[in-house]
């Protein structure tokens, strides 16, 4: 039923090079900032991720945030982690999210709660990200809940996304796990932030060898790193991320570090766009969302494509 397809899925199927952004929901009960960011990204990003209590810090829920994006005329990609909900809560929230107009879902394990502001909380991990992907697919394609019970009507029909981290270890396993996620039902991927292009190339080479680029839409994750200080911090404290020293050096030497950051990010996007099998770019500018339009423009990704039959929406 094509009318049910998300704008994101439609763009992939049209063969467009897709651009997505990301909004980190606030630690407050107001959606004003989210709507503002969504409007700001409108016309520059085809869809926007809403993170699910990222780094295990309590924030406005990703589903509610997705609704704010919808209200602002944008296309949300709601993130769902396995850390905080058991299979009952996850499925319930999926029904709720879909009923509110959310059509794209990104399934992840979730950062361990020890990173966040409630390190003494229990974690759930009733299902893992692979099982979550499979559960969402079965709800859509087999019209069943995880227990096997039939969903009699109005099943949620999500476009299913997953994440891949080419910079985690063991390296070879990353491609196997990506394949496993495709087998479970993942249709698109957003990768961890890429700084080490050479390693990403090797990752994509292995992915292509296994034909994964033809079985899913792979989006390369990038991040404009505002300053050498931020880069150094990320290298030290953010798990699963490879920040090369020469990038830190380049930022350090720059007269205008922010301009240099944009330049580096644009160079990376231009490079990644030409990597065979990469179908889009996911720009994670959390905390620096206002720079995204500049990056998209400089990377030559404007204008963003239209979807026939759909009003020009973005965000």
């Amino acid at each position: 039923m094509s009318e049910n397809k998300s704008r994101l899925q439609t763009l992939f199927e049209q063969g467009e090079f897709v651009v997505t952004g990301e909004i980190g929901p606030p630690k407050s009960a107001s959606g004003a900032g989210i709507r503002e960011h969504a409007k700001h990204l409108s016309g520059y990003c085809d869809a926007t991720n809403l993170t699910d209590n990222q780094t295990a810090i309590v924030r406005l829920s990703s589903i509610a945030s997705g609704v704010h994006v919808l209200q602002a005329g944008g296309e949300p990609i709601v993130q769902m982690t396995c850390r905080d909900r058991n299979r009952i809560a996850i499925q319930s929230d999926l029904l709720g999210a879909y009923s509110l107009g959310i059509k794209n879902l990104l399934c992840l394990s979730g950062d361990h709660q020890s990173f966040g502001n409630h390190p003494t909380s229990a974690n759930v991990f009733d299902v893992d990200s692979l099982q979550l992907i499979r559960m969402v697919k079965r709800m859509r394609d087999e019209k069943v809940f995880a227990c096997g019970e039939e969903i009699k009507k109005d099943e949620p029909r999500f476009f299913i996304g997953a994440v891949a981290n080419p910079f985690a270890d063991p390296f070879e396993v990353r491609v196997y796990r990506m394949e496993k996620k495709i087998n479970a039902g993942a249709q698109f991927f957003q990768t961890q932030i890429i700084f080490d292009l050479e390693r990403f190339d090797r990752f994509m080479e292995l992915a292509r060898e296994r034909g994964l680029h033809e079985r899913s839409y792979i989006m390369a994750g990038v991040m404009p790193v505002k300053s050498a200080k931020v880069a150094g911090y990320m290298k030290k404290f953010v798990s699963g991320m490879a920040v090369p020293d020469d990038m830190i050096e380049r930022l350090k030497k720059a007269e205008d570090q922010q301009a240099e950051a944009v330049e580096i990010c644009v160079e990376q996007i231009k490079y990644l766009k030409n990597v065979k099998g990469v179908k889009g770019v996911h720009i994670m500018a959390v905390g620096w969302e206002e720079i995204v339009p500049t990056i998209v423009e400089k990377a030559g990704l404007l204008p963003r494509p239209q979807v026939p039959g759909l009003a020009q929406v973005a965000g």
């Binding site: 020890s114 009733d126 692979l130 891949a164 985690a168 270890d169």
Partner: protein, 223 residues
């Protein structure tokens, strides 16, 4: 074995501050092996308590005893007389032992001296690590004999997650167990097995299903 660690002395002292005669009860099983609640530790705790209370001008009398096991009625029967004469019992067993003591002596106040940590073993002298998550349905034949339920920070059954780096978990000071599982499965030529999606676990067999029981009718003694 069950691995347990002694609570800070100040906490134990606080829990017994209103009592003047206590039985400090050790256990000769797991907690003796992990050096936290055996005969030797009973002696040290008794001496420390007496010294501490003497300094505070409220001396305490300690009775020391260590049982073969605290988790079996017949050994608890042995201390019936000792128990009669004390204000409270400080159990230096795991949580199982503490509860057996409390159940066997319902009119006595029982205090736990240990924090029960996990089912594990000593990987080297002085270092004990968790090995079993007691999930009630063993999957070690699928993971090369290495348990992700107990040893993955997110108990992921289709790992490793994106937080694995250089064999380490994203959680501080934890090894990535999926890194070990993969290396072992690869070495054993069983990678294909790991490509199969492990389905949702039946947690009703774990603690999530409520307190668990195991019975063997053939050894039960009828009334």
């Amino acid at each position: 074995m069950i691995v347990a660690e002694q609570k800070p002395f100040e906490e134990i002292a606080k829990m017994v501050e209103i009592f003047d005669k206590v039985l400090i009860l050790g256990c000769n099983e797991c907690v003796t092996v992990c050096l936290s609640g055996g005969e030797k530790e009973v002696g040290v705790l008794a001496t420390s308590l007496r010294l501490y209370r003497k300094q505070g001008d409220r001396p305490i009398t300690t009775v020391e005893e260590t049982l073969v096991r605290q988790c079996e009625w017949e050994y608890l029967d042995e201390i019936e007389k000792l128990v009669e004469d004390v204000d409270c019992i400080i159990s230096m067993a795991c949580g199982v032992g503490v509860q057996f003591v409390a159940e066997r002596f319902p009119d006595k106040w029982v205090i736990p001296a240990l924090d029960t940590k996990c089912a594990g073993g000593a990987v080297e002298h002085g270092l004990w690590e968790e090995r079993c998550g007691m999930c009630g349905e063993c999957i070690l034949h699928k993971t090369g004999g290495v348990c992700p339920v107990a040893r993955c920070s997110k108990r992921i059954l289709n790992g490793p997650c994106g937080g694995s780096q250089n064999g380490k978990c994203e959680v501080k000071d934890v090894d990535c167990i999926w890194d070990q599982i993969y290396k072992r499965m690869m070495a054993l030529g069983r990678m294909d097995q790991l490509m199969e999606i492990e389905l949702e676990k039946d947690w009703s067999k774990a603690r999530d299903g409520g307190p668990r029981k195991m019975s063997r009718e053939e050894v039960m003694i009828g009334e």
